[in-house]
């Protein structure tokens, strides 16, 4: 088996040891599970540090021994405190915390707010410059309440393919914001399947009863909830000015850029109208590679829009 790198092992040990010292004694299994490390790896690394030491304290620096599946820790001398938070870890905690504080229902004086304040103070830095602004439309609050209360709701929804908003019944499971848009992942009563809806396309909402369907065992992955659905794919050549497309939308593949900065991208197309909009916005910075049936979409859409400008 491949040996884990020495730095990785030591870093993990310096996290585990202070916790063990606080516990005094703990089953090996429990410690291994808590720190996502193999039991054998943990035992080997703990036995190794327990033998470390320098005169006159040989063998006494870290007083750890393992017997019958239990770890026992004696009087701590060294490594009693965890390492400082790295820059990356501090960002992760603060950004996650600030973002969660923007979600409806967050208590400005609650445990999260207090914890974030303590971390900012502990870092000894002026941390007022990190902000998350995420406006939540009122419908988000109503959908969240429907999830919490297990309600079925009726929404007036403007789908990207139909001309007018239409009524449909859904049972919401989770409401989430991704790349600037709000979505609700729900059981769609009409089609009998799981669907993800854009919250900004919900015109109105009312509770109609109790939900009858169990939430799915797994929720959509961040940013790629429709990646594995059987949605049609299109392959595009995109120029350097169209970079935002593969930054913004979930894509299956992006090739390495050629000398001119053009890349080949494969992505899911939710509807032909969606593709038409995308192609018009890209103008001459895009070419459809396949399927060949989509090659005329851009020209047809341009002609359709130009007709409107000809009248004006």
């Amino acid at each position: 088996m491949a040996q884990r790198p020495a730095t990785e092992r030591l870093r993990r040990l310096l996290i585990i040891l202070p916790w063990l010292m606080e516990q005094g004694e703990v089953p090996v299994e429990e410690a291994a599970r808590r720190f996502s490390i193999g039991v054998d790896d943990l035992i080997r690394d703990l036995e190794l540090v327990s033998m470390c030491g320098l005169p006159p304290y040989v063998d006494e620096m870290v007083d750890v021994f393992i017997d019958e599946g239990m770890i026992f820790v004696g009087v701590p001398r060294l490594f009693t405190r965890p390492l400082r938070l790295s820059e990356v870890e501090a960002f992760e905690l603060l950004a996650a915390g600030r973002a969660a504080m923007q979600l409806p229902g967050a208590d400005p004086d609650g445990a999260l707010a207090r914890g974030l304040r303590k971390i900012a103070v502990g870092l000894g830095e002026d941390d007022t410059g990190l902000l998350v602004v995420n406006p939540t439309p009122p419908v988000v609050q109503a959908l969240t309440e429907a999830v919490e209360n297990g309600h079925r709701v009726e929404v007036r929804y403007q789908s990207s393919t139909s001309a007018e908003p239409a009524l449909r019944q859904i049972e919401p499971f989770v409401v989430f914001s991704s790349q600037g848009n709000w979505y609700v992942h729900a059981h769609d009563v009409g089609s009998g399947g799981l669907r993800t809806f854009r919250v900004d396309r919900i015109e109105s909402l009312s509770v109609v009863g109790n939900a009858e369907n169990e939430p799915p065992s797994s929720m959509p992955e961040p940013g790629r909830w429709f990646a594995d659905a059987d949605i049609e794919r299109v392959t595009l050549r995109i120029g350097p000015r169209g970079k935002w497309v593969y930054e913004r939308y979930p894509v299956d593949e992006v090739s390495v850029a050629d000398a001119g900065g053009w890349v080949t991208v494969r992505l899911a197309v939710t509807s032909q109208q969606w593709l038409a909009r995308l192609l018009l916005r890209l103008g001459d910075s895009v070419e459809v590679v396949e399927p060949s049936t989509m090659k005329s979409v851009r020209a047809e859409a341009a002609a359709q829009v130009l007709r409107r400008y000809a009248d004006g």
């Binding site: 730095t7 030591l10 996290i15 720190f35 996502s36 190794l48 470390c52 320098l54 005169p55 060294l78 405190r81 390492l83 400082r84 938070l85 870890e89 501090a90 960002f91 992760e92 905690l93 950004a95 996650a96 973002a99 969660a100 923007q102 609650g110 445990a111 999260l112 914890g115 303590k118 502990g122 830095e125 002026d126 410059g129 990190l130 902000l131 998350v132 602004v133 995420n134 403007q158 989770v174 409401v175 989430f176 991704s178 790349q179 600037g180 900004d200 396309r201 015109e203 930054e247 109208q273 192609l279 018009l280 916005r281 103008g283 001459d284 341009a302 829009v305 130009l306 409107r308 400008y309």
Partner: protein, 309 residues
């Protein structure tokens, strides 16, 4: 050969316990044979260990001796430099942080390790409402520069920018840096994912942040005003078909509606500085939107469409 973790642990222990700086010769003799005997190989092995400890977050301090050992280097580690200060977090505060991570950055290995350090655990399931945070390697560096008020430089739109970063702001799914751009001598906003180089920090300078009432207000709410392509905003007039009118009115606000037609369509008026963003927004509605003014922007939009017809 002995396990490298053993040598690193012993080195760490020795430099933590010592009451005076130790020379490399002293370190090698205390560690009894764990470092090579030959001078150059020993130095190389020690430098590698120093780098490994730094990677973990532990810096070895050093000073140059004077007197009869003039020129020799002495090494030690200051415990307070790398140990986590006591943050006095309660169990429910740590759990709240865990839930926040589960709702915004599920499966983040970095977040899990941070929680371990605070005495908590990772994992867990987010509640009924979540927000997915985009991840960018430049963000931790920028946060640290903002917090310590150090200027940064990076390549943006093909040019090197020197910026005093006042704030880091997530809005509409994108991270922005707001600050003073020394090359333009003005306040500017930059999309972090558009930075074309690594961010370099000048830690020797500490800038003054102006007393802004709010950083939030520094970022225009209208995405058509983001970016610095044009000086000064112009106003666009756009005709929106009735079936999209409610969507648009909700997005831009009722006060932007200049005229309501009998057929249910509306004319809206919005300021913009970024013509690309404006064209893109209008074309997003296909033939449900028509840009009326400014005339020259309308003409360029028509040319844009003609070129791909």
């Amino acid at each position: 050969m002995a396990d490298r973790v053993e040598r690193l642990t012993n080195l760490l222990a020795l430099l933590l316990e010592t009451r005076r700086p130790l020379t490399l010769h002293e370190i090698a003799s205390e560690l009894g044979g764990q470092y090579p005997d030959a001078g150059q190989a020993r130095r190389a092995a020690f430098e590698r260990d120093k780098a490994s400890l730094r990677e973990i977050g532990i810096d070895i301090s050093s000073e140059t001796f004077g007197g009869d050992r003039a020129g020799e280097m002495g090494y030690w580690i200051d415990r307070s430099e790398f140990e986590l200060p006591n943050l006095d977090l309660t169990d429910d505060e740590v759990r709240a942080l865990q839930l926040a991570l589960a709702a915004t950055r599920p499966d983040s290995a970095i977040g899990e390790e941070a929680l371990w350090k605070l005495g908590g655990v990772g994992g867990g399931v987010g509640g009924p409402i979540r927000m997915h945070l985009p991840e960018l390697p430049a963000l931790p560096v920028l946060r640290s520069a903002v917090a310590n008020r150090h200027p940064v430089s990076f390549t943006y739109a093909g040019a090197t920018r020197h910026v005093d970063p006042w704030g880091l702001l997530l809005r509409d799914g994108f991270w922005y840096v707001i600050g003073f751009d020394h090359d333009r001598s003005d306040r500017r906003t930059f999309r972090v994912d558009r930075c074309e180089s690594e961010i370099s920090i000048d830690a020797s300078v500490e800038f003054e942040r102006p007393d802004e009432t709010s950083l939030e207000g520094a970022l225009p709410a209208n995405p058509l005003l983001l970016g610095d392509e044009v000086e000064g905003a112009q106003t666009a007039l756009i005709h929106i078909a009735s079936r999209r009118a409610w969507l648009v009115e909700r997005e831009v606000g009722a006060d932007r509606v200049q005229d309501r037609r009998h057929d249910g369509s509306i004319i809206i008026s919005i300021p913009f500085t970024n013509e690309d963003a404006l064209r893109s927004w209008v074309l997003g509605f296909l033939d449900d939107a028509e840009l009326l003014e400014p005339r020259e922007v309308r003409e360029r939009l028509v040319n844009w469409l003609e070129s791909v017809r």
